[in-house]
Symmetry: C2
Subunit: 304 residues, 2 copies
């Protein structure tokens, strides 16, 4: 395994997309600017989807226009189709993230397309992007399970991985546990196969902590050699299927564990914690992150 | 590793001891009776401590008197001293749990004794118990870190382990991560040494999920060969040092993960979840457990 682990922040996209609180463009820009100084490798800034589908992210172009870019950070936009790709190119994003569910029924539910239609659309996006220096990340949603279909066939998962890499020529791939169904044995087994298939393709794991297994799944992914992890500040990003459940794995809880274990992430944990402390004010509710409440293991208490 | 994992329920002791809601003796008895039917190996029923110190558990003797005992379950009482041991013998407990912190300052803070004074007291308890068939479990609190002192010296941890096993003759030992400071690498390293020292002494790991690492720590313990895990229904058992933080690792979240990974616990997960659903009514607040909110990974959703 590489020594350095890459932490990729998704709070301003996956984290807040279903939050109902009004978060202003300025607040988003400020948060991204501060996150840019923490040492995270990537920030998924926003999504060029229909404002009707995701009203919280309708200001994607404005956000991209106003952020201060740090050369060391890759600024990503999620893009659902050709129209979104054109907007992303105009916004001068560093990377486009294309998402298709491995589960046919979840893809239909999520983007109203068959997987075949999604792949056709992705070809059009690749055509738009190829004359630019924008990178493309392909995400495989429901890689570890589908809330409608249950288990996902491995054959199907690796079939789409092959299409992403060999036919579409995507630069890197994300395996997303969209509704928190992955367990550590499964992660280790599938990721060993994926790394074995394409050892030179950078791969990301995107976990939700919906059933409490998020950090255990990260360790399983590391065992398989994966060094890139998506996470959301404060653990935002709850799922519509699981009211009250936790969201994405929490960035500061993840970094806290990795640093305790002696791994290098290049991330300033104290800065992350300070930013996470601002989130309840931004979204008008408590957040699932634990370290922000309990303190770091190195924060000692005074005796009476 | 043994194939069977042992799940040991602590909700009616560690789980509720700092809860301020009035939980009646009848409610505790009912909960224990239902837990006795779930397949858990042990239940830490209550604690024979001073009613002033822990008012929530002042009905320990009444609870023991009224529960229906299942032969397959070991019913445990925490005992702080000789007086507590006498009450525990009268209550006909199956096992006494003696707790001393490895950290000198934490032991003083927690039980107002030096570790030397605790060990002297434990000798008196062993004398009381030796003419009975009651087993004794020795817990080493703050095994993985102390909120006042920080890191705990390994030498000191294994020194007390040796005294517990060789000098006091305790039947089994629990390593407790009292305030949720353990991380997986540390757990794996220390538990390999402990198992190596005393391969025939049954050992338990007791984790709190204070900083989100609880389930990851269990997997690290399993790697080292530990097959006994304490957990609290609903994840109750928050720490006074970390307001709003999660408590003990959550029994149903733990069993859910282990079953997903193919391990045998002998526990009926659906019964556990049904019991956990009753907890908010019992303690008048939401509980940290995730599976009870999100459902099992095998609970599929219907398409629109």
């Amino acid at each position: 395994m590489e020594n350095k682990l890459h932490i990729q922040e998704v709070v301003t996209r996956d984290g807040i997309q279903i939050e109902s609180a009004c978060i202003t463009t300025e607040e988003k820009v400020n948060l991204i600017n501060e996150l840019s100084k923490t040492g995270v490798s990537k920030i998924e800034v926003s999504s060029f989807v229909s404002p009707k589908a995701v009203p919280q992210l309708k200001d994607a172009a404005e956000v991209f226009k106003n952020i201060d870019r740090n050369e060391a950070v890759t600024y990503v936009a999620l893009v659902p189709n050709k129209q979104g790709a054109i907007r992303a190119v105009e916004a001068d994003v560093d990377e486009i993230n294309l998402v298709m569910s491995v589960s046919e029924s979840h893809n239909m539910q999520n983007v109203r397309k068959t997987t075949e239609q999604s792949l056709q659309e992705f070809k059009k996006v690749m055509d738009i992007v190829k004359s630019t220096d924008i990178k493309v990340n392909g995400s495989l949603a429901t890689s570890f399970g589908c809330p409608f279909e249950g288990e996902i066939s491995e054959k199907r998962l690796f079939h789409f991985l092959r299409i992403y890499v060999e036919e579409l020529g995507m630069d890197n791939v994300t395996f997303a546990d969209t509704t928190g169904m992955a367990h550590p044995k499964q992660v280790q087994r599938l990721m060993k196969q994926a790394v074995n298939m394409y050892p030179d393709v950078p791969m990301t794991l995107h976990f939700h902590n919906t059933r409490g297994m998020g950090l255990a799944n990260v360790l399983a992914g590391m065992d398989a050699g994966i060094v890139r992890y998506d996470a959301s500040l404060g653990g935002l990003g709850g799922c519509p299927f699981a009211p009250g459940a936790t969201g994405n794995i929490c960035t500061e809880d993840l970094v806290h564990m990795l640093h305790a274990m002696g791994y290098d992430t290049g991330v300033d944990l104290d800065k992350l914690i300070a930013l996470s402390e601002q989130l309840p004010g931004l979204i008008d509710k408590d957040v699932p992150g634990q370290v922000v409440k309990a303190g770091k293991i190195t924060d000692l208490h005074k005796l009476d």
